[in-house]
């Protein structure tokens, strides 16, 4: 094979990879307040894939999600969605569930109102009720198992119930990519398992690429296709068993890290972190 043919083949392969990747991060770097928060973060996601961004608190998981959402400009690298820069894409193609949303109990919003805002809450003017709209809201609430409390005030729901409603809010615009920032934080074990099961089902049945940040990977092990482990400003990505190894994480953290597997749980013992 000539050099030209090899280059053509490589370019074609790269192009095919870009086409098949729903989300592609290429050498993303972020500087905040004079500090390098993230360096050379590269990974891609295909539709229907469930990916966990795992790392200790302060590792840059939220920062990474904000870059993907286009809310934060990276200091280097690029984010492509369906092969196009994130700023060119319709915001409806990304569903988002933010971190630590504390909803006032007196907020005059029922669960169905929150889901309705996911449809057109960003638009000016009135949203007129219609049968089609009502059915879409009911169906989306049912998709996440929240149809039982559609008419409840959202601020009076439990943490797990609120998460389901917020996931329905993000889903109703039929996004290709669903980003969730620490959705399992502060949930009890049962709610945690239920939310993970709902997200796994959405990824499989609706072919949505799910990207979820968490500081503990264990609740996600049954559904996670790929892990993006973030530590010390860098990220390692791949299958969980390939990435979460003592050697791999020691390189990432820059100091010795033990990885212990006990009863189907993975415990990462770093100098300053247990994850």
């Amino acid at each position: 094979m000539t050099n030209e043919a090899a280059q053509e083949l490589a370019a074609s392969a790269a192009s095919a990879r870009t086409r098949s990747a729903l989300l592609e991060l290429d050498k993303i770097g972020v500087r905040l307040g004079g500090r390098q928060v993230l360096s050379d973060v590269t990974f891609s996601l295909r539709k229907g894939e469930f990916t966990g961004i795992i790392g200790p608190n302060g590792a840059g998981k939220t920062t990474l999600l904000r870059v993907i959402l286009g809310l934060l400009e990276p200091s280097g690298g690029r984010v492509l969605i369906d092969g196009e820069p994130v700023h060119n894409k319709s915001k409806a193609s990304i569903g988002y569930v933010p971190q630590k949303l504390v909803i006032d109990p007196d907020m005059p919003l029922r669960a169905r109102d929150v889901v309705s805002l996911g449809l057109d809450g960003h638009k000016l003017g009135f949203g007129f009720p219609s049968r089609q709209r009502r059915e879409l809201i009911e169906a989306t609430l049912a998709d996440v198992g929240a149809d039982g409390y559609a008419d409840a005030r959202v601020g009076e729901l439990s943490g797990g119930e609120q998460q389901r409603v917020l996931i329905a809010h993000a889903l109703i615009s039929r996004p290709k990519l669903l980003l969730l920032d620490e959705p399992l934080a502060n949930l009890d074990l049962r709610s945690e398992q239920e939310i993970v099961a709902v997200l796994g089902k959405l990824a499989r049945e609706h072919e949505i690429a799910v990207l979820l940040s968490a500081h503990d990977m264990n609740p996600l092990l049954s559904v996670m296709d790929r892990i993006v482990y973030v530590a010390n400003g860098h990220a390692a990505t791949g299958a969980t068993d390939d990435v979460v190894t003592s050697e791999g994480l020691t390189r990432l953290y820059g100091h010795h890290v033990d990885v212990v597997r006990v009863h189907n749980r993975i415990i990462v013992v770093a100098a300053e972190d247990v994850g």
């Binding site: 959402l69 915001k91 933010p98 809450g121 009135f126 039982g148 005030r153 009890d188």
Partner: protein
């Protein structure tokens, strides 16, 4: 009917004007108040009212209609708040400590100079505590138009305001310019506070903005119902306050009449306190498998 209120109530021109203006003010304040409360900007509303006092007293000093003074100062304060960053706790403290105190100091000077010129202290009372029975008939169309403008602004922004109230990050992720929306909303708030200042005075105008809205938010669970209930609660307090103030002409000390603003703010408070008498906190039964409460609810 005369068992309910004094004869001649509805035959009185000033009373009819007061009922009309009261309705406009109550509806505008109720609707905008709902967003003020859910956005956590009760403080901003009160600050705008304080600064409006300066505008009202300045207008009085130079012989202008006080409503224009309230409106100009309110709009300027809204712009200043946006520049300082009303969302930030530290910004709020700075605004409170420096800007508001300076504005009220200027109001004291304007009122002093104004009363020196006219040898009357009635203006101070009117600006601070309202003048709904002495509104000039040519001012009424201006007040109606201002109320309509504020309501149209909020109607246009309603969905986006709800989304940003739920989470500014969610709104930003959907492409909403959260800061611009907040600035336009502050203008609507400044108009509402100015209208309220005309009715029950600059100092007490927050009562009509926050009280009926807070009452409605405790009783309803959808945004449209909350706005309707707040407008209705505000109208009930204002109209009943006007009737009681009219009746109070015969109360001791006879022949003086009690201030309308006293009745309105007292009725607003009573309405709010009544919501604590009985209200189920949980509107649906919790599913049996739900564990410990994780979010404040």
């Amino acid at each position: 009917m005369h068992y309910l209120f004094e004869p001649g109530l509805l035959g009185s021109g000033p009373v009819r004007t007061a009922l009309l203006v009261g309705a406009i003010v109550a509806i505008t304040s109720g609707v905008i108040g709902v967003f003020t409360v859910i956005r956590g900007q009760s403080f901003a509303g009160h600050s705008l009212a304080d600064v409006a006092t300066t505008g009202g007293s300045g207008a009085f000093l130079i012989g202008l209609n006080q409503f224009w003074g309230f409106l100009a100062a309110g709009a300027a304060a809204a712009a200043a708040m946006e520049a300082i960053g009303v969302q930030r706790r530290r910004g709020r403290d700075v605004a409170t400590g420096v800007v508001l105190a300076a504005a009220l100091g200027a109001a004291a000077l304007f009122l002093y100079l104004g009363t020196q010129q006219t040898s009357t202290t009635g203006a101070s009372f009117t600006i601070l505590f309202g003048s709904i029975f002495v509104i000039a008939s040519d001012t009424v169309p201006i007040l109606i138009a201002s109320g309509v403008v504020a309501l149209i602004l909020v109607a246009i922004l309603a969905r986006v305001l709800l989304l940003t109230s739920l989470s500014p990050d969610l709104a930003s992720a959907r492409g909403v310019n959260v800061r611009l929306i907040g600035a336009v909303y502050l203008i609507a708030l400044a108009i509402s506070v100015s209208l309220s200042a005309v009715a029950i005075g600059a100092i007490l105008s927050t009562a009509l903005l926050i009280g009926p809205a807070a009452t409605a938010l405790r009783l309803t669970k959808s945004p449209v119902r909350a706005m309707a209930a707040a407008a209705a609660a505000g109208m009930a307090a204002t109209w009943l306050g006007i009737v009681l103030a009219y009746d109070s002409y015969y109360w001791p000390p006879a022949g003086r009449g009690w201030p309308v603003s006293f009745f309105v703010v007292t009725l607003v408070l009573v309405g709010y306190l009544l919501t604590y008498v009985r209200r189920p906190r949980r509107l649906v039964p919790r599913s049996p498998h739900e564990g410990a409460e994780c979010f404040p609810a």
